[in-house]
C-alpha cells in the first residue's frame, strides 16, 4: 500500500511539474520589442568611460553623436551639419539645430565641448581619455584643459588639433565623442545608472538597467536623425554564456544574436539557414614578438620573424580549429576597411612556405645560433589554447625547434605582464577597430611609444609615413601612405599577422531585416518585428 502511494505521488508530481513547466513556456509575445543578447557593462554607462562591447551596445543606441557609421563603415552625418577643415588641423564643426536630450535639455555645441573636456581631464580617470589626445591642450600627466576646443555659437564649435589628422572626421562616430546633458555634470554617479541621451532609443524607465539581468530601451519619439527605429524598443539580455543565448535563439526566445558559441560553429548555418549571419569583421589577430627578446632584434631578428611567419600554415589552422570561419591575414588591418589591400609588397611573408622558412632560419643561425624554445603567451580564460598550440606545432614541425604555448591564468595577469614588460615570451595580441579607418589599426599599435604598442616597436621611417598620411589632402592619398607604412611593417614584422576575425550571429523567426555593421554589431534600429 505504501509503495502504491509513493508511485501515485511520483506520477502526480511529474504531472504537476510538467504542467507548471509548460505554463511558463508560453512566455513571449513582446509586442514590437526586439530582444538581443548582450553582456553586463563593466563600468557605469558614461560615454567617456565605456570601452567594452557590453556598455558600447547600449550607448550607441541611446546616443546620437556628430556622425554614425553605416553598415560599410562610412561616416554619415547624425547631428553634424558640416565638418570642414582647410589644413586638417583646425576643424570647424556645425551641428543641426533643435535637437533635445530626453530630459528636455537642448543639445548644443557646449554639450559636446563640456563632455570632451570631462573625458580628457586626467583627474577624472576616464578610460577613453586617450581619444582626445590629439586635441591641443591634452596632457597625460597633469590636469589640463583642452585649449583646442572653442564654442563659437550654440550650433558651432572648432577643434584645433596638435598635429594634422586627415581622418579626424572618421573618428567622431566613436562613443567617446557623444554629447552629454548638464544633468550628467550635476551627478555623474547617478547618471551612470540612468543615462540620458539623444539617440534613437531611451531607457524605458528609471531603473531600466537591471544589473546582470537585462536593460529595456524604448523608441525615442524626439530623435530627429536618420537612424529612426523601425521597432518599438529593445530588450538587451545579459547572458552568462553564448551557449545559453544560442539555446534561446533556437527556441525563438531571443530575436537577434550577435556571436555564435564555439559549440555551435559547425551547425549554426544549417540550424538557422537564411537566418545565419557570417560576414567580415574589423578584427585583426596576431602575436607580438618584442624586440628585447634574445635573437629577435636587428638583422637576425628580421630573418627569424620572417621564418616564423612563413612556418605557419594559417589556412590549415583556420580550417581545423575555427572550422573555416576566419580569413588568413594579408596585411595589418582588416578587409572591411576602405584602403585594405591584399597585394602589398612583401605580403608573401604571410604565406606558408616551409622551404623558405627553413632557409631564412638557417641564415639567422649563421649570425647567432638559436637556443632555447619559442613560446607564445596567452590568457587561459580566453579560449585561445587551440590555435596557439596549433601555431606552435606548425612552427616546431617546420623549423625543427622547440615551440609551445605559455598560458597565464587570467586576462588581468596576462595584460599586467605585458604592460610591465615582464613577459619573457612572444604573446598573442589582437585589435578590434574603434572606428573604421586604417589609422586605427596602425597608429595605436606600431607608432613609437603609442598606447597599445605592446612590443615597444619603434621605426622612425614608419612614424614619418604616419605623420605624412595624417597631413594628406585626401583619404585616398592617406591610405596609400598607410599602405607604404605597412610594407615597412611587413619587413620588420613587430607582430606576426595571423587572420581576420569574422562576424557571426543569427536571428529568430519573429524578426526580419537584420543586418550586421562593420563593427560586428547588429543594426538594431532597422530590425522589424514580423
Amino acid at each position: 500500500m505504501r509503495v502504491n502511494k509513493i508511485k501515485f505521488a511520483a506520477v502526480a508530481m511529474f504531472a504537476a511539474a510538467a504542467l507548471t513547466l509548460s505554463g511558463c513556456a508560453s512566455g513571449g509575445g513582446n509586442d514590437n520589442i526586439v530582444s538581443v543578447n548582450g553582456s553586463e557593462p563593466q563600468n557605469p554607462l558614461i560615454t567617456t568611460n565605456t570601452n567594452e562591447v557590453g556598455g558600447g551596445l547600449i550607448l550607441d543606441n541611446i546616443y546620437a553623436g556628430l556622425v554614425y557609421y553605416d553598415a560599410k563603415g562610412n561616416p554619415v552625418d547624425d547631428m553634424a551639419k558640416s565638418i570642414t577643415s582647410k589644413d586638417n588641423t583646425v576643424w570647424d564643426i556645425k551641428i543641426k539645430d533643435g535637437w533635445k536630450f530626453t530630459n528636455g535639455e537642448a543639445v548644443t555645441a557646449s554639450s559636446y565641448v563640456d563632455a570632451w573636456q570631462y573625458g580628457a581631464l586626467l583627474s577624472h580617470a576616464q578610460l577613453n581619455s586617450y581619444y582626445f589626445d590629439t586635441i591641443q591642450g591634452f596632457s597625460y600627466d597633469k590636469d589640463s584643459k583642452l585649449t583646442g576646443l572653442k564654442v563659437v555659437s550654440p550650433t558651432e564649435f572648432t577643434v584645433t588639433l596638435s598635429a594634422p589628422q586627415s581622418d579626424f572626421p572618421l573618428r567622431l562616430g566613436y562613443s567617446g565623442f557623444y554629447p552629454l546633458p548638464k544633468a550628467f555634470f550635476k551627478n555623474p554617479k547617478a547618471f551612470g545608472e540612468n543615462p540620458i541621451g539623444n539617440g534613437p532609443y531611451k531607457l524605458a524607465e528609471k531603473g531600466a538597467w537591471k544589473h546582470n539581468v537585462d536593460i529595456s530601451l524604448v523608441k525615442n519619439p524626439d530623435y530627429q536623425g536618420a537612424r529612426k527605429a523601425l521597432n518599438g524598443g529593445l530588450k538587451i539580455v545579459f547572458y552568462a554564456t553564448l551557449d545559453a543565448a544560442y539555446a534561446d535563439l533556437q527556441s525563438d526566445n531571443l530575436d537577434v544574436m550577435a556571436g555564435i558559441p564555439d559549440s555551435a560553429l559547425k551547425t549554426y548555418q544549417s540550424d538557422l539557414g537564411k537566418r545565419a549571419v557570417m560576414q567580415g569583421a574589423a578584427i585583426f589577430q596576431s602575436f607580438t614578438i618584442p624586440g628585447r627578446l634574445p635573437h629577435f632584434s636587428g638583422a637576425e631578428g628580421q630573418l627569424r620573424r620572417a621564418a616564423i611567419s612563413m612556418a605557419i600554415n594559417r589556412q590549415e589552422i583556420i580550417d581545423k580549429i575555427f572550422n573555416g570561419t576566419r580569413q588568413p591575414a594579408a596585411d595589418f588591418t582588416s578587409p572591411v576597411i576602405a584602403g585594405w589591400s591584399k597585394t602589398l609588397a612583401g605580403a608573401d611573408v604571410l604565406k606558408y612556405n616551409p622551404t623558405e622558412a627553413k632557409k631564412l632560419w638557417a641564415e639567422a643561425n649563421k649570425i647567432s645560433p638559436w637556443s632555447g624554445s619559442f613560446q607564445i603567451g596567452y590568457n587561459a580564460d580566453g579560449g585561445h589554447q587551440g590555435w596557439v598550440d596549433a601555431v606552435t606545432n606548425s612552427i616546431k614541425n617546420t623549423l625543427g625547434i622547440d615551440a609551445s604555448g605559455a598560458p597565464t591564468a587570467t586576462f588581468a595577469e596576462f595584460r599586467t605582464a605585458i604592460t610591465d614588460k615582464t613577459i619573457k615570451t612572444a604573446f598573442r595580441t589582437g585589435w578590434q577597430a574603434d572606428y573604421p579607418a586604417l589609422s586605427n589599426f596602425l597608429e595605436p599599435l606600431y607608432q613609437t611609444a603609442a598606447g597599445a604598442n605592446d612590443g615597444q616597436y619603434s621605426n622612425p621611417a614608419v612614424d614619418k609615413l604616419f605623420t605624412e598620411a595624417n597631413s594628406a589632402k585626401s583619404l585616398d592619398a592617406a591610405n596609400k601612405l598607410f599602405q607604404q607604412a605597412q610594407e615597412v611593417l611587413l619587413k620588420d614584422l613587430p607582430a606576426i599577422p595571423m587572420w581576420y576575425g569574422i562576424t557571426d550571429g543569427g536571428y529568430g523567426t519573429k524578426v526580419s531585416n537584420v543586418k550586421f555593421g562593420w563593427n560586428s554589431v547588429p543594426i538594431l534600429y532597422n530590425v522589424v518585428k514580423n
Binding site: 500500500m1 505504501r2 509503495v3 509513493i6 505521488a9 511520483a10 508530481m13 511539474a17 510538467a18 507548471t20 513547466l21 509548460s22 511558463c24 513556456a25 512566455g27 553586463e40 563593466q42 563600468n43 557605469p44 570601452n51 567594452e52 586626467l122 580617470a125 578610460l127 581619455s129 586617450y130 600627466d141 554617479k189 545608472e193 537591471k210 544589473h211 546582470n212 539581468v213 537585462d214 539580455v237 547572458y239 552568462a240 551557449d243 545559453a244 543565448a245 539555446a247 534561446d248 533556437q250 527556441s251 526566445n253 597565464t408 591564468a409 587570467t410 586576462f411 588581468a412 596576462f414 595584460r415 599586467t416 605582464a417 604592460t419 585589435w431 595605436p444 603609442a450 598606447g451 597599445a452
Partner: protein, 309 residues
Amino acid sequence: MSGYILRRILQAIPVFFGTTLLIYFMVFAMPGDPIVALFGDKGVNPATAAILRHQYHLDQPFIMQYLIYIGGIFHGDFGTSFSGQPVGNILAQTFPVTIRLSMIAVVVEMVVGIGVGLVAGLRKGKWFDATSLAGSLLLISVPIFVIGFVLQYIFAIKLGWAKATVSGDAPLNELILPGIVLASISIAYIVRLTRASVIETAGQDFVRTAYSKGLSRSRVVRVHILRNSLIPVVTYLSIDFGVLLVGATVTEGIFNVPGVGRTLYQAIIRGEGPTVVSFVTVMVLIYLAVNLLTDLLYAALDPRIRYGK
C-alpha cells in the same frame, strides 16, 4: 539545547573573521593587476590607472585594504564593484535566486531520492532495486553539463515545454528545470545512501520487535525504519546544500540563471576583492547555519541523540 545553539552561534564569529581574512588575502595575492585588465587590449594610461587604483584602495598595503573592508561591513557597506554597483545590492539580488534554485534542487532530490531509495531498500534484490541501481550509476557517470544541455535541448528547444533560459526575476516555475538538472547527480547518491541505510535499519532488532508487536507495515516503515534511516541522508543533504550553492555555476551558465555562480566567477576573473570576499563570506555563513540546523535535526530524528546534557 538553547545553550548549545548559543555556543554554536558564538563559534561562528571567529570563523567569519578568519574566512574573510583568508579569502581577502587570496584575492590580493592573485597575480595580475585588475586595473590593467579594465583597459582591455588598448593601451594603459599610467596616470589614469594610478587614479583608479587609489579609488579602489588598491595602492594601500594589504592589511589596510582588509581593515577598510571590514570597517565598511559594520556600516552595512560591502564595498563597490568596478561597475559602480554596491556589492550589498549585488548580494541582495543574486543570493535569493541561487537559494531558491538550490532549495528546489534539494526538494527534488529529497523526494525522488528518498522515495526511490526507500522502495529499493524494502524490495531488495527485486527488479525495482536493480533498475534504480543501474539508473543511479548512469546519473553519476554523466557529467552535469551534459545532463543540462540535453534536458535543455529536449524540453525547451524541441518540445517547448519549458523556457530555454531563466528570465530576470527567476520565478519558481522557471527554476524547476535547472533545479532538476542540479539535483540529478545528488539524486543518484541519495538513492544509494537511503537504500543502504534502509537495508541496515530494516534488519535491526527494534524493527523486528515492532512487527511482532502487531504494528501495521505502513507504520513500521514510516515511523521506525524511515526516520532512523535518514540520518546519513540528512547529513549528505546538508553538505549538498552548501555544494549546490557554489556548484550551481555550471547550471546557472547553461540556463542563464541570474544567481551567485556567474557573478562570483566574473568577480574572480576581474580580481574584484570586495565582491569575492563578500560573496564567499555569505556562503560560509549560510553553510554554518545549515550545519547547525542539520545537527538540530538529528535530535528530532533520533531520540538517542541529545544536546546540552
